[in-house]
Amino acid sequence: MNDAPAIEATNLTRRFGALTAVDHVTMVVPRAQIYGFLGPNGSGKSTTIRMLCGLLEPSEGEARVLGLEVPRDAEALRTRIGYMTQRFSLYEDLTVRENLEFIGEVYSIPRRSRRERVDELLAQYELADRAGQYAGTMSGGQRQRLALAAAVLHRPELLFLDEPTSAVDPQSRRDFWESLFALCDAGTTILVSTHYMDEAERCHALAILDSGVLVATGSPRRLMDEIPETVVEIEGDDLRAARAVLDDVDAVASVAQLGTRLHALVEPGLDEPALRLRQHLAAAGVAARVERVAASLEDVFVSATRERRAP
């Protein structure tokens, strides 16, 4: 029983009227891993998570979570999963401690161990000196630590985190991920949605969603290694001109700007891609340094979401 994957979804689909928010998603999430859900706004990350928690009825397909069928066995699942909603959903007019106490009571944790657990969490998530503060007056990062503390209070086996680090500064995000790794090491399975590449890269495995469709799955390493296109990096003074030139080259599938550089995804068939692009740029009189590079996760993302847009 315990060897079963944490999540198995088969053709999970959800429609809202004419819109298909989640479109036949099939995926397996192994236990004790951090599994990332990467996708742009509106790609169906929250909707998928809600179906897996038993909050939304799938229009089609099925899902087994911790060996239980949802939404049928959703009630039995409640004590074994934790869910951190995308929007802050604790009580803003209760204090930090009151919120945690409340969650502890809702999960029927006996009084004495509840107090201990709350104190432990307050210390662990650096909320101890804010225990008496109203949740509504806390900063984004503090709220998010509180929400995580509330989600793990009953020591769930499986944790759903829906964009937990939006509105959080980079340092806090790093700290937050440290806590996630600690939970994972302790055996918790974590499904986390994000649209930050650096966060996605930390996950053991990733699923990239685009318009409700699962367009790529695998470990970040494998996804980057197995990207079908060749990635060529262009560095120069006039990136705009360079871009205009590259957009007209047939073999270039897409061009994206990453900081001060351009990344061109070149169709796999082309020989010596860097040389060819260099020639195109030189012919157009654009001075640039052109070099073939290893794919980044961003390239994987562009590649994966592109294939669906322009088949």
Binding site: L55, E57, Y83, V106, Y107
Partner: protein
């Protein structure tokens, strides 16, 4: 060139730095939002319509068809004619015939009748002699409109007397029970408990649930092991206590400041209030499953409150309303509470006499709570 008229029209806006474009931007946005809020849009029409129907059609201050009982100890042809004339006036509907004044009083106290016609055994002699008023009207004085109608009945002529009516004077002597001084506060305050409870209890629970949905708390709450019934009971319990505090407040202030007598048992009064509070709270829960935001919850409460106040007998006697309005009133918990609380507080009735009004409250509670539970599933869709 700017025409003088235009200059005059624009200058005050200029001085106040009001931009017509910005004002109209806000007004247009408001109209759009209003149009999309179907409930509010409906209320714009619904509330005036409801008010007009209630006041124009259901409410009638010229009260007729008051339930009455007759104790005719004389049993002569003349006395029977008098009762028939009283019925023909349509002011009273005789629903019971009894043997004594005591029985009439018992029926009054139990709230079964509003008026008792007592015709003494020496009725014929009284009609002949001018010394004493021939008959008596025993009136439930806890409702001033009833009392007023009874007074109209007092001068009903006695048929076929050799003497002129002017010599006899009034045919009936009016005896007002329960509120002999006819103070309106005595009549209003017990029922007011019910109006206050309807307002607060329904609104509080409805808003308490809708607020959680609005703020996103519900999405978290429904992923926890909390069961729907636990959530609902947990929501109701604190407000039961608040409701009982309100009852106490009105009773204490009512008797201290307004000298409202509390004739029945306090325990009975609280039992009635408790039943009513629970019925109102479960209705609040039901509203919360329909309302999408707190404003809608408040509107629905008003929509429920209006007919409750106007049809329950709190403001106008139940007997005077047309049949359709009475049927609606029977479905409203306030109607039954007003009967219970007036019976206990003003008439000193015990629950064994008037307890029948608990049943509709229990049914109302069971139905609204079941529907609320069915509608409130632990899902987001």
């Amino acid at each position: 060139m700017i025409s003088p008229l235009r200059a005059v029209a624009i200058s005050p806006l200029r001085v106040l730095k009001i931009s017509p474009l910005r004002v109209s931007a806000i007004a247009n946005k408001e109209v759009r939002q209003l149009r999309r809020d179907r409930l509010t849009f409906g209320m714009i029409v619904g509330i005036p319509m409801l008010q007009m129907m209630l006041f124009g059609y259901a409410i009638n201050t010229d009260v007729r068809h008051l339930r009455a009982a007759v104790a005719d100890l004389a049993g002569t042809q003349r006395s029977r004619l008098l009762v028939a004339d009283a019925e023909a006036s349509q002011v009273v509907d005789v629903v019971r015939r009894v043997e004594s004044a005591e029985q009439l009083e018992a029926l009054l106290r139990a709230g079964e009748i509003h008026i008792g016609l007592f015709i003494p055994a020496d009725f014929e002699r009284r009609v002949q002699g001018a010394v004493r008023v021939p008959a008596q009207l025993l009136v439930d004085g806890s409702d001033p409109l009833v009392l007023q109608s009874a007074r109209g009945l007092a001068a009903l002529p006695v048929a076929g007397t050799p003497r002129r009516q002017a010599e006899i004077g009034d045919t009936f002597a009016v005896r007002a029970y329960y509120n002999p001084e006819r103070r309106s506060e005595v009549q209003i305050i017990p029922g007011l408990i019910g109006v206050i409870l309807t307002m607060t209890m329904v609104l509080f629970t409805a808003v308490a649930v809708v607020r959680e949905r609005e703020r996103g708390n519900l999405e978290l709450l429904i992923t926890t092991p909390v069961r729907t019934i636990e959530l609902m009971i947990g929501k109701i319990v604190p407000y039961v206590a608040i409701g009982l505090v309100q009852v106490t407040l009105v009773l204490v202030v009512g008797s201290a400041l307004f000298r409202v007598p509390i004739r029945g048992s306090l325990l009975d009064a609280y039992l009635a209030a408790l039943a009513f509070i629970i019925a109102s709270l479960s209705f609040g829960l039901l509203i919360s499953t329909f309302a999408r935001n707190q404003f809608q919850a408040a509107q629905m409460t008003i929509f429920f409150l209006l007919p409750s106040i106007l049809l329950s007998g709190f403001m106008f006697p139940f007997d005077g309303m047309p049949r359709a309005a009475q049927i609606i009133a029977e479905a409203l918990p306030l109607t039954h509470f007003v009967r219970l609380i007036r019976g206990v507080v003003l008439r000193g009735a015990s629950l064994t006499e008037i307890g029948a009004d608990f049943l509709p409250l229990a049914i109302f509670f069971a139905v609204t709570l079941s529907v609320a539970l069915l509608r409130f599933r632990k899902r987001l869709d």
